[in-house]
């Protein structure tokens, strides 16, 4: 399965966040790490579609911050890992011989 750019980044964000992967944090990581400012709706659409595609699973959980409300915590499926690896391999193949330094 080939991934869109935002889907790729979102899956990576979930992977980085581990057990703390809930919507608000995912959005923050996208902004802080990848430099991608995206709207709430966009994040929710992407997460929903990834879940529908079987790349994410979700469960109800409590975020680590104090007083936080119950939210949906996301985790990668095996298929997601597979897709991420394929995307990375494809990307690296394309980069081969291009690096000047």
């Amino acid at each position: 399965m080939s991934l869109g750019d935002l889907q790729n980044l979102t899956l990576l964000a979930v992977a980085r966040l581990g057990p703390g992967a809930y919507a608000r944090e995912i959005r923050r990581v996208l902004a802080d790490v990848a430099g991608r400012e995206v709207s709430v709706s966009t994040v929710f659409v992407t997460l929903t579609r990834l879940e529908d595609q079987g790349l994410l699973t979700s469960s109800r959980g409590t975020p680590p911050e104090r007083g936080g409300r119950a939210t949906r915590i996301f985790a990668l499926t095996e298929a997601a890992w597979q897709a991420l690896r394929e995307a990375r391999a494809a990307s690296e193949l394309m980069w081969e011989g291009l690096e000047s330094g």
């Binding site: 919507a23 608000r24 709207s39 709706s41 929710f44």
Partner: protein
């Protein structure tokens, strides 16, 4: 979501969003995130001027963004799939439709139970809708026949066009469009073909026919051999004649289905029998299909072939078929070229009779003789729009009734919600109710439409050949569709209101009327009803005034002046200008004058609205005479007593007498306009006028009479003159007798008729008709408009009075406590009454203002339909305002009395 305090002001949109999202935690989290985002934004912008508004605008844009909608859609799809999975697990997926239908039937049963509980409400709603829908169906049926669908039994009527000759110089230099085309010109167009697939010539006349013992007048259409081929009807029996356009063997006749039933008893053997028309014998070769009346809406009894030898000096109506895709303009240009060529080939000295140069133009078959939309069709179009308004008013009234019922059923709705009925299901139940009511209304509208259709047809449009029944399957189907649409529309508002009912406050409140919102929509609907009624009343008033103005026009012909014509089956017996004619009419005149009360009788060649002749006028010492917009000079050759019999006033000098006729004196009486325009500074009396040429002998003017209209109600002034009968020589002919009985009823006219039949036994028919009745076709559209609009406005008035009554009583019920407190504090009964009356009068006044403004805004479309009446007619506006405000006051009287009778003690105790 109550925690989003910062999101105040976004309530409705956020609620809408929530309403769309399925109820699960992921959706809730989405909304929370949106609000969180908004709060952060608001905090950041908080310090700046206008920051709050900017944050709000930003948030609104986010809420309405495509991404947000995408998310909603995704979540709804998810919910649907989950629901479906669940259904499959339970093994019921296959009969989702069955479940739905079961629920629907349950709703219908519940509706019927509810309506039985409130029969008065049900009957009222059904009746209101029946009137609204029925009036629409009836009017639609009429409009359909007049201009919507083409003539019945005609193949592809949209391809047919009527051809007209546009003459460059009509009366007073203005161009004129004529439906009547000289034979040679029409023939040239037919032979040239142009781009048309078929061109046919036809005309109408009335011929006497003997069927059994009775002699009747039949409307006969003389047609060429292409007629039936171009129109394409299928004979009900026998065959049609035709083929070669100019040569038709024998004397075949095709009779109408009606005549076949009426005169031949519907016998199949009628084909092959003879029929006598104006002394000629024809063989019936075929029967036209039922409803067929040729290209026009007026009844036709029989069709006979045109006789080429007699066709030449007559004008013909021309109809052409132009298949789709063929260029209109090219075909017309070809026809114009043909017409032009024939004009140039014709001997110029005789050209006027044989061919006329001009442009050939086309109009739809439904157009009138001037090539414009007929007055009937224009009025029918307006009436169709008006019926739409009536339905709208009826619907508004039903909405009001449903809302009022919702108020009564508030408790029931709350309990249902508490027991777990879904809001969607509740809305469906309410919609089922309103659609069922509307369908019942549609059913009840069928007899209404039938009766209204009969009245419209028979009384107001008698000249049109109608198909058998005012209702057909198509009309019934349309009524059904309209009923369902009305049901859905009127159910929407109550369903929305029910969906908004708050469960907790609803259960807590002992009696809540549904809040201010519902009262507001009711008041708005009431004002809307009054507005539409005011618009209708005003249209009705304007039409009534047009009709009245028309009726009151001084025609120079009294309403009780009658014309008598002698007719015989043998065309030659009373042929115009013959001795037989003069002899017969003279005997008829003596017979009339010897009767009591018929002294005011006279003979005339040339009569207003029937026959009009022109004669060139030359004045000694002048090159020309002024041309008037009304044309002329028009001349009648009359016996003594003519002006008295017609009711035309003699203004100066003397009228023409029998002595002038006997002595064949060269005297003349002129109309007022002629006297004024020919001799503006000198007296017309004694002047010399030469007729027909400057070398002709003088006629001496002996009197001046009032102008008489020659053609109809709407005509500009024209020059008119009268000479003693016989002085016209053989320039024009065609005699009529005119009588004006002394205060007599129709019974004495029968006396006159039988006296004339005795005196002139060779007349097969003595026709006696009111001269003004010849103008019936002209006045008919206005009468149609005035009557139908009057009835519609009356209905609308009634419905809106009930609407205002409903709203005001509702408001009184709402304000019961306030009124109780006022009374307890010492308000007089009168003050309370004024309080209530004021609210009703206010909605009345608002509605009148809006309605009048509506009509004034539409004056561009309405004014052309009126006769010498301005849309801003003060009398009409004042009448409408007075009627409606009075009606609104009347509607408030009962609630006002109830309000004044409120007992403060009960009222205040109820509050505690």
């Amino acid at each position: 979501m109550t925690e989003g305090g910062g999101a105040q002001g976004l309530g409705p949109l956020r609620d809408l969003l929530l309403a769309w999202l399925p109820e699960d935690d992921w959706s809730r989290e989405f909304v929370t995130e949106l609000e969180h985002e908004y709060e952060r934004r608001a905090e950041r912008l908080g310090g700046r001027p206008g920051g709050g508004w900017r944050a709000r605008a930003w948030h609104l844009a986010r809420l309405a963004s495509p991404r947000t909608l995408h998310f909603i859609w995704l979540m709804r799809r998810r919910a649907r799939r989950a629901h479906h999975r669940e259904a499959v697990m339970r093994g019921r997926s296959a009969d989702r439709a069955g479940v739905w239908l079961g629920g629907f039937l349950q709703d219908v049963r519940q509706t019927l139970r509810g309506l039985r509980r409130e029969p008065r409400f049900a009957v009222f709603v059904v009746l209101t809708l029946a009137l609204g829908l029925g009036a629409n169906s009836a009017m639609y049926g009429v409009a359909d026949r007049l201009f919507l669908s083409g003539p019945p039994e005609v193949r592809a009527p949209e391809e047919l066009v009527r051809l007209y000759l546009r003459l460059p110089n009509g009366v007073a230099g203005q161009g004129r469009t004529a439906a009547w085309i000289p034979y040679r010109t029409a023939l040239a167009i037919q032979e040239g073909g142009g781009g048309f697939t078929g061109v046919t010539l036809y005309r109408y006349d009335e011929r006497l026919s003997r069927a059994g013992d009775a002699v009747r007048t039949l409307r006969v259409s003389a047609v060429d051999g292409r007629y039936f081929g171009v129109l394409g009807p299928v004979p009900a029996a026998g065959r049609f004649f035709g083929g070669d356009p100019t040569r038709i063997e024998g004397s075949p006749a095709v009779i109408s289905h009606e005549l076949w039933l009426d005169a031949f008893g519907g016998r199949p053997g009628a084909v092959g029998e003879a029929i006598e028309l104006a002394g000629e014998t024809f063989t019936v070769v075929g029967v036209a299909p039922e409803g067929f009346s040729g290209p026009h809406v007026e009844r036709v009894d029989a069709w006979v072939p045109l006789v080429v030898e007699r066709a030449g000096n007559r004008n013909w109506q021309t109809l052409a078929r132009l298949p789709p895709g063929r260029p209109h303009d090219a075909a017309l240009a070809a026809a114009t070229a043909e017409a032009d060529a024939i004009h140039h080939r014709t001997d110029p000295g005789r050209s006027f009779q044989w061919a006329v140069p001009g442009t050939i133009i086309a109009a739809p078959v439904s157009a009138d003789d001037e090539g414009t939309t007929s007055a009937e069709a224009s009025v029918a179009r307006l009436l169709l729009a008006v019926m739409g308004l009536v339905l709208l008013i009826a619907a508004a009234n039903v909405v009001n009734l449903l809302l009022a019922r919702m108020t009564r059923r508030h408790g029931e709705v709350v309990v249902r919600l508490a027991l777990g009925i879904g809001r969607r299901r509740l809305a469906r139940l309410l919609l089922t109710e309103s659609v069922s009511l509307a369908l019942l209304g549609g059913l009840a509208s069928v007899p209404v439409a039938w009766v209204a259709g009969r009245v419209l047809r028979g009384v107001l449009l008698p000249q049109v050949a109608w198909s058998a029944s005012p209702l057909d399957l198509r009309l019934l189907a349309m009524t059904g569709v309209a009923a369902v649409a009305v049901g859905v529309v009127v159910g929407l508002l109550p369903a929305r209101q029910a969906g908004r009912t708050e469960l907790t406050s609803g259960l807590a409140a002992e009696r809540i009327g549904g809040g201010r919102g519902r009262g507001r929509s009711q008041a708005f609907l009431a004002v809307a009803q009054v507005t539409l009624s005011a618009a209708l009343l005003m249209c009705a008033g304007l039409f009534l005034r047009s009709f009245w103005t028309m009726r009151m026009t001084d025609l120079g012909v009294e309403g009780d002046a009658w014309a008598v014509t002698l007719r015989s089956l043998d065309d030659d017996r009373f042929a115009p200008g013959s001795d037989g004619e003069l002899d017969g009419y003279q005997r008829a005149l003596s017979a009339a004058r010897s009767l009591d009360g018929f002294q005011r009788s006279s003979l005339s060649v040339g009569l207003p609205f029937l026959y009009t002749f022109g004669w060139g006028v030359f004045l000694p010492g002048r090159d020309s005479i002024p041309e008037l917009p009304g044309g002329g000079p028009f001349v009648s050759a009359v016996s003594g007593g003519y002006f008295e019999a017609l009711g035309t006033p003699v203004l100066r000098g003397n009228p023409i007498t029998d002595e002038h006729v006997v002595g064949q004196e060269r005297v003349m009486v002129v109309g007022e306009t002629m006297a004024r325009s020919l001799w503006p500074r000198v007296d017309a009396m004694g002047q010399c006028v030469r007729l027909g040429g400057a070398d002709q002998p003088c006629f001496t003017v002996i009197g001046v009479v009032g102008d008489a209209h020659r053609f109809g109600y709407r005509e500009p002034p024209s020059m008119q003159l009268y000479v003693p009968r016989g002085m016209q020589g053989n320039r024009f002919s065609g005699m009529t007798m005119v009588v004006r009985p002394d205060g007599a009823g129709t019974g004495s006219l029968d006396r006159l008729r039988s006296a004339i039949r005795t005196a002139v036994p060779e007349a097969d028919m003595v026709e006696v008709f009111r001269i003004r009745s010849l103008l019936e076709p002209e006045i008919r559209p206005w009468r149609l408009g005035a009557v139908v609009l009057g009835v519609a406005a009356g209905l609308a008035l009634l419905v809106s009075v009930i609407g205002v009554y409903g709203v005001v009583s509702y408001l009184v019920a709402q304000r019961r406590r306030e009124i109780g407190v006022r009374i307890a504090l010492g308000a007089s009964a009168r003050a309370i009454r004024v309080l209530v009356l004021r609210s009703g009068t206010l909605s009345g006044a608002l509605g009148v203002g809006a309605g009048v403004a509506l009509v004034l805004a539409a004056s561009r479309w309405i004014e052309p339909l009126l006769y010498e009446t301005a849309v801003s007619d003060v009398l009409v506006i004042a009448g409408v305002a007075g009627t409606l405000v009075g009606a609104a006051l009347l509607a408030c009287l009962l609630p006002a009395r109830q309000a004044a009778r409120v007992d403060p003690v009960t009222c205040l105790r109820g509050q505690g």
